[in-house]
Symmetry: C2
Subunit: 360 residues, 2 copies
């Protein structure tokens, strides 16, 4: 691994460079395959005035990306075909023809699945500090939009109150591991999680402070949730949809609230998935289901960052990452994420130093 | 019709009287039948200290009653077997052994499907004024919980804003006819309704101020709603559930809100009804589905009554009633309501005067 490739060649990219990029070649129907993607090598010209060149250290793969591969109306336009996959990434400025960003700056951006980015410095780079002992990948997870998603979902969308019993599906994922800990820190009475392997279930109670956890592959979710929450649940953080949402609706106490964050259980379905068969509980129990995407809540980012950094520094928050090495394995990382192969945040460690062109 | 039977015999019921009452004899499975009910005659003793005797003029039959016939956890306990069906009713005090209610007072109460009520005066009678030109049945509909349900659902639960496009299902029913008019009075941009007969559809646009209406029996709801709301909807008032909710989810603009009031489409199903197959739109469009029952919002009653009375007196509100004569036909009235046989509020006109015992 070469975690700071830029340091090796700080001034080289003033010339040309080769950027490896992953494009969407065709829209997946059902489960995506390698045929839906294409790896290209793009020659980056010398910097124009106002541009920066950034060597990515980590690139994010996230469940929401599956939705954007479809050509349907959504909160953001679908991914364009034959264009490089966009998404969160963190890297280091290796060359700058701009006054606003300097060589060595660590920047967070949304240019996605590529090892080297060359864009105008004003095109959406945010400088972030290097924190001692914290990998830069944390900015794609617990200290970034993933953490904010958990924070907003629980506190703003589901209006978590002290003493609430909270159920979180996909609990061992990036959002789930953050949400469980935030629920605990904010005074939840009981926190219950679901995941799909014995290893994940053990982590939830042993590392992430969940009071109870169950493996959704081992029996009906509805019965397992009812057993784990004999007095019902007040808040549900939904990352899965389907049978998990149905189970939550069955277990909700009066006035229950669900933060609808995702539905990874149906992202790769080719047929529309029937909804829960107990929607009538919304009326009789006065329930609220509220969907959200974090992009609409960026105004809460400073408040989140203040609180999360404090928790972090106090040792109140732990996190896991599942790291896949090599930008050329981004697609495999994404597939593994879709199959639940990750614990905590799934990231791609770029290791692009060796591909920096110094022959231009 | 004898709309003020009490006036004929103001002091008679100090003695015994016979009360005709409808009891739940067995819990319906699927569509209820006459076998699920029983009509009994109860001899009321002379008044005890603190009691009143009330002769009902109108008794309410409402969709929510079907849910209470099942033995399931809900916001109110299920109806007890072999007990008289409770529910809204309005009547007149014909005898009083209490200082708080006087003979002649018109009272609203929840003692339900019976012609004569005898209870402690403190047991939940609310005195209401007789308004010129307004039948007392209006207290069971537009001036009562039905009107409040429409008002709360639109303004509080769905947070109606000026200019919103609003879709209301079951639009020709008691709640729907009120909701359409309230939406219009509160500045909705476009109001769309669905109902199940040509007569109802015509009324919606010609009498109730709907901009568009469609017959859900004439084609897929999703396609008909999309045609009626080419720019999408912002608010959905759900009285039906099922395909109507799915259509609303398909047509919602970003940030859409649904007030989930009822699901008459599935009350008589013996199998759990699959939910909408597009729940994922909650996430991608940031939608909110919020269920409610009016009982939790009684603190808004004074504000509702002030505003509704003003609209009423200004001629801004119209209403229809479907009246079934005779307490002994309460069950038929309820069945007809379940089949959508009503326009506006369905009430039973008791006409109990002739059955007052003056032979005690």
């Amino acid at each position: 691994m070469n975690s700071t490739p830029a340091a090796a060649a700080p001034n080289a990219p003033a010339d040309t460079a080769l950027s490896t990029q992953i494009q969407l070649a065709a829209r997946p129907v059902g489960w995506p395959t390698h045929d839906n993607f294409r790896t290209v090598t793009v020659e980056l010209p010398p910097l124009s005035d106002g541009q920066v060149r950034v060597v990515n250290e980590f690139v994010s793969v996230d469940p929401y990306m599956r939705g954007r591969m479809n050509d349907v109306k959504s909160y953001t336009p679908p991914y364009a075909l034959d264009a490089t996959m966009t998404g969160g990434a963190v890297g280091r400025v290796v060359a700058s023809a701009s006054d606003t960003l300097a060589v060595g700056d660590v920047v967070l951006h949304n240019f996605g699945w590529r090892d080297i980015v060359q864009e105008d410095a004003t095109a959406g780079f945010r400088v972030v500090p290097e924190l001692p002992g914290v990998p830069l990948s944390a900015y794609l997870g617990i200290l970034g939009l993933t953490g904010l998603t958990a924070y907003i979902g629980l506190l703003d969308i589901a209006a978590l109150k002290e003493g609430d019993t909270v159920f979180i599906s996909g609990a061992a994922g990036a959002v789930g591991t953050a949400a469980g800990q935030i629920a605990r820190l904010k005074g939840a009475g009981r926190v219950i999680g679901s995941a799909g392997t014995a290893e994940k279930i053990a982590l939830l109670t042993e590392k992430y402070g969940y009071d109870a956890a169950f493996n959704y592959r081992e029996g009906p979710v509805r019965a397992q949730l009812a057993a784990a929450a004999p007095d019902g649940i007040d808040v549900y953080f939904d990352n899965v949809g389907g049978d998990h949402l149905e189970a939550a609706l069955a277990s909700f106490n009066d006035g229950g609230r669900a933060a609808m964050c995702g539905a990874i259980g149906s992202y790769n379905s080719t047929e529309p998935t029937p909804g829960p068969n107990n929607m009538g509980n919304l009326v009789t129990r006065g329930l609220t289901l509220k969907g959200f995407t974090v992009g609409h809540y960026m105004h809460h980012f400073p408040e989140f960052m203040r609180e999360m950094t404090e928790w972090f520094q106090n040792g109140d928050i732990v996190f896991d990452e599942t790291v896949v090495d090599g930008i050329e394995h981004s697609v495999d990382a994404f597939f593994d994420l879709m199959r639940g192969g990750n614990i905590g945040k799934m990231v791609v460690r770029v290791g692009a130093g060796s591909r920096l062109s110094d022959a231009g």
